[in-house]
C-alpha cells in the first residue's frame, strides 16, 4: 500500500515531470497555433504608430473608464483582488520561493507567513464571490460552459489545499502537501487547453487591438 510519504514523492517525482512536460509543450503548441496564423499587412496610410498603440494597450486595458467601471464594478474589483492575491501567494510565499530556488537556482524576498495566510483567505473569498457571481449574473451564467467551472475548480483547489496543508487540517501534513502539489499539477495539465491560456494570449490580444487602433491614431 502507498503511504503518504510514497504519495508525496510520487507527486514530486514522475507526476511533476509529466505535468511540467504537458504544461510547457501545451502552451508552446497553443502559442504556435496562434502565431503561425499570421495576419495580412495593412495598406491603409497610417495616422499613428502600431508599435506605440500596441504597447499602450498592453497596459491601458488594466484600467477602466468611469462608466465601464460602474457597469462592471463587481467583476472588476473581485477579479483584481483574486489575481493580485493569486500572484502574491504563488510568488511571494517562502515555501514557493524555496522551490523556485531549487528549480532555477535563484530566489527573491518572501512575505511573512501570516500575511500570506491572510492573502490566501482573501483570495479564496474573492474566488468564491466570483463563482457566485458567475452563477447569479444572467450574462455570466449564460456565457459559462463546463470549461469555466473546470477552470475555476482547478484554480481554487491549489489555493485551498495549500491553505489546508499549512494549517495541517483534515489530513496529516505530508498527505495534505501531496494533495496540494497534485492539485497544482492538475492545474498545469488543464492550463494549456482551457481559458487559462488567457494568462499568455491576452498580451497578444491587447497588442493586436492596440496596434490596429494605433495605426488609426486612436488610443484604446
Amino acid at each position: 500500500m502507498m503511504t503518504s510519504i510514497d504519495f508525496l514523492s510520487w507527486v514530486r517525482g514522475p507526476v511533476f515531470i509529466m505535468a511540467t512536460a504537458i504544461f510547457v509543450f501545451g502552451i508552446s503548441l497553443r502559442l504556435l497555433e496562434i502565431v503561425s496564423l499570421r495576419r495580412k499587412p495593412d495598406y491603409s496610410a497610417p495616422r499613428g504608430s502600431r508599435m506605440v498603440g500596441g504597447m499602450r494597450t498592453l497596459f491601458s486595458r488594466s484600467m477602466y473608464d468611469k462608466s465601464t467601471f460602474q457597469r462592471s464594478a463587481f467583476t472588476i474589483v473581485a477579479g483584481y483582488i483574486f489575481h493580485l492575491g493569486l500572484f502574491i501567494v504563488t510568488f511571494l510565499s517562502v515555501p514557493h520561493i524555496l522551490l523556485f530556488r531549487e528549480l532555477f537556482g535563484f530566489d527573491w524576498f518572501g512575505l511573512p507567513t501570516i500575511l500570506i495566510d491572510a492573502v490566501t483567505v482573501i483570495t479564496l473569498l474573492a474566488m468564491l464571490v466570483l463563482l457566485i457571481h458567475r452563477l447569479k449574473n444572467p450574462v455570466r451564467r449564460f456565457l459559462s460552459t463546463f470549461e469555466n467551472y473546470v477552470v475555476w475548480t482547478v484554480t481554487f483547489l491549489p489555493l485551498l489545499t495549500g491553505y489546508m496543508a499549512y494549517h495541517h487540517s483534515v489530513f496529516p501534513y505530508p498527505l495534505m502537501l501531496g494533495l496540494h502539489i497534485l492539485s497544482v499539477e492538475i492545474l498545469m495539465v488543464v492550463f494549456p487547453f482551457t481559458q487559462l491560456m488567457h494568462t499568455f494570449t491576452l498580451f497578444m490580444a491587447r497588442w493586436h487591438t492596440g496596434a490596429n487602433a494605433g495605426h488609426r491614431g486612436i488610443q484604446v
Binding site: 497555433e33 495576419r39 456565457l143 497578444m204 490580444a205 486612436i218
Partner: protein
C-alpha cells in the same frame, strides 16, 4: 455573388481567421463585461446579445480547424460541428443586433477587438447565404444602381441642378487636376442635400478647387456592410479609378462614418495596395482649414446642444477632436454627453441595422440608451456628422416623442461662415477665388 452555400460559408469563415482572431478567442474568460458595453444588451437585458456570444459560429470554426485540442474534441464528439441552422439562427445576432459600433472592443479586459471579429464573421455569414434579405437587396442595388438605397447618378444630377438653380453656385463635376474629389453618401443625396450645398459653399469660401466624379461619387460600401470583400473591392475600385482618372490629390469622405471607414481604412486593404491619393474625412479637412485660418465663422448657435459621435468616424475612425473643435467655433452652449468621443453609444442604426426591417423594433428599444443620455443633459438640439446617424436619431426621437432638431455639423459650419464682405475687410489675408 456566386451561389451561397453552407460549404462556401464555412470556407469563408476559415479564410477569415488570422492571428488576432485566434488570440482573441484564446483569451476570452467569459467575464461578461462586453455585454455591458452593448446597447442591445443594456436596453433589453437579454444575454444573447452579449458581443462574444454573437461570435460563436466563428469561434467554433477557429477551435475545430485551428487548434489540435479543438479537433480532438470534435472527433470525440465533445464539441458539435457548426451547422447551417445555427448560422440561420445567428443572423439576427451578427447583423440584426450588431451595429458594428465597436464599443465592446473598448471594454474587454483581455483586449479582444470584438467588432474586428464581427466584421469577419459577416464574410462567412454572407457566403453561406445568411445575410438578411434587406441587406442582400441593398448590396445588389449597390452593384447595379450605384448605392444600397437605390440612389444613382440621375438623382445626384437632379439635386445638383436644383442647388445650382437655388444658390447660383456651380457644383463641379468630372473636373480633372483639381485638389479635392468629394464623395457623398446616398443618404445625403436623398435626404440631406444640404450637405452638398454646404460643401460647395465652404469650398468656394476657402478658395479650394474640387470636383465630384460621375463615375465614383458614392462612398457607402454595401460590400463592407454585408461582408463580401469581393463586392466591397469592386465598389472601392469605382472611387479609386475615378480619383486616379481625375488626378486629384485628396479624396474627401463624406460625414457618414461607415463611408469613411470603408474608404479610409478598409479601402486599400480591399484592393490590396496603398492608394495613390490621400483620404480625409470632411471634418478633418475643415479642422485643418480652421487651424490654418482659412475658415472663419461668425455668430453662435444659442441653443443648448450636444454632439452625437458617429461610431465609425470617431471611435473606429479616429476623427475625435475635430468635430469638437469645429462645434466650439459656432456653438456657445455645447455640452458633452456622459459617455462621449471614443466611449459614445451608437445611434442604433449603424452596420446595416438601420436598413433591416426586422430589426426595427429592437433598434427602437435600444434607442432608450440615447434617450437616457439626452434626458440627462436637457439639451434642445442635437448635432451629428453622419447622414445615417441623423436619420436613425430622428426616427428614434420620434418614437420616443422627443422634440429635438438634429443638425449636420458641416451644414452648421457653412451657415456660420463669415460673410464675403467681412472676408475682404480681413486685410486681404485670404485669397478668394471666384469659381
Amino acid at each position: 455573388m456566386s451561389a451561397a452555400t453552407f460549404e462556401r460559408g464555412y470556407k469563408a469563415f476559415k479564410e477569415q481567421i488570422d492571428a488576432p482572431i485566434a488570440a482573441y478567442f484564446s483569451s476570452c474568460v467569459s467575464c461578461g463585461m462586453c455585454a455591458e458595453a452593448c446597447l442591445f444588451f443594456t436596453e433589453t437585458g437579454d444575454p444573447k446579445y452579449t458581443p462574444i456570444y454573437k461570435l460563436e459560429p466563428l469561434r467554433k470554426v477557429w477551435e475545430q480547424e485551428y487548434t489540435l485540442w479543438g479537433r480532438l474534441k470534435a472527433l470525440l464528439g465533445i464539441s458539435k460541428k457548426l451547422t447551417d441552422d445555427e448560422l440561420a439562427e445567428w443572423q439576427e445576432l451578427i447583423y440584426g443586433s450588431c451595429t458594428m459600433c465597436g464599443r465592446c472592443t473598448m471594454v474587454c479586459p483581455v483586449g479582444n477587438d470584438l467588432v474586428y471579429m464581427i466584421r469577419k464573421a459577416r464574410e462567412g455569414m454572407a457566403a453561406a447565404g445568411h445575410a438578411p434579405p434587406d441587406i442582400i437587396v441593398g448590396t445588389q442595388r449597390a452593384i447595379t444602381i450605384g448605392s444600397a438605397t437605390g440612389v444613382g447618378l440621375p438623382t445626384l444630377q437632379a439635386q445638383i441642378r436644383r442647388i445650382e438653380r437655388e444658390t447660383g453656385m456651380k457644383i463641379p463635376m468630372d473636373v480633372q487636376g483639381v485638389e479635392y474629389m468629394a464623395l457623398l453618401s446616398s443618404m445625403e443625396i436623398m435626404s440631406f442635400p444640404e450637405y452638398l450645398e454646404a460643401l460647395a459653399k465652404i469650398m468656394k469660401y476657402a478658395g479650394k478647387t474640387w470636383t465630384l466624379s460621375s463615375e465614383g461619387f458614392e462612398a457607402t460600401n454595401a460590400g463592407v456592410q454585408i461582408g463580401v470583400s469581393e463586392i466591397a473591392k469592386e465598389l472601392v475600385m469605382r472611387i479609386v479609378k475615378a480619383a486616379e482618372k481625375l488626378q486629384v490629390k485628396t479624396v474627401i469622405s463624406p460625414e457618414c462614418g461607415h463611408a469613411y471607414g470603408a474608404i479610409r481604412w478598409e479601402g486599400p486593404n480591399l484592393i490590396g495596395r496603398p492608394f495613390t491619393f490621400r483620404v480625409q474625412h470632411i471634418l478633418e479637412v475643415l479642422d485643418e482649414w480652421r487651424e490654418q485660418g482659412k475658415l472663419k465663422t461668425e455668430g453662435f448657435e444659442k441653443a443648448r446642444l450636444t454632439f452625437h459621435d458617429p461610431c465609425q468616424s470617431v471611435r473606429r475612425g479616429g476623427v475625435i477632436e475635430q468635430p469638437r473643435n469645429l462645434l466650439k467655433m459656432v456653438a456657445s452652449h455645447f455640452v458633452e454627453m456622459e459617455d462621449h468621443g471614443k466611449m459614445n453609444w451608437c445611434c442604433t442604426g449603424g452596420g446595416g441595422v438601420g436598413a433591416i426591417e426586422e430589426a426595427h423594433e429592437l433598434r427602437t428599444k435600444a434607442f432608450n440608451r440615447k434617450k437616457t443620455q439626452l434626458d440627462a443633459l436637457k439639451v434642445d438640439k442635437l448635432v451629428t456628422s453622419c447622414a445615417n446617424c441623423r436619420l436613425v436619431l430622428e426616427d428614434g426621437l420620434e418614437a420616443y416623442e422627443m422634440e429635438m432638431p438634429v443638425m449636420g455639423l458641416t451644414e452648421m459650419i457653412a451657415e456660420h461662415l463669415k460673410e464675403e464682405g467681412e472676408m475682404e475687410k480681413d486685410k486681404g489675408l485670404y485669397r478668394f477665388s471666384e469659381n
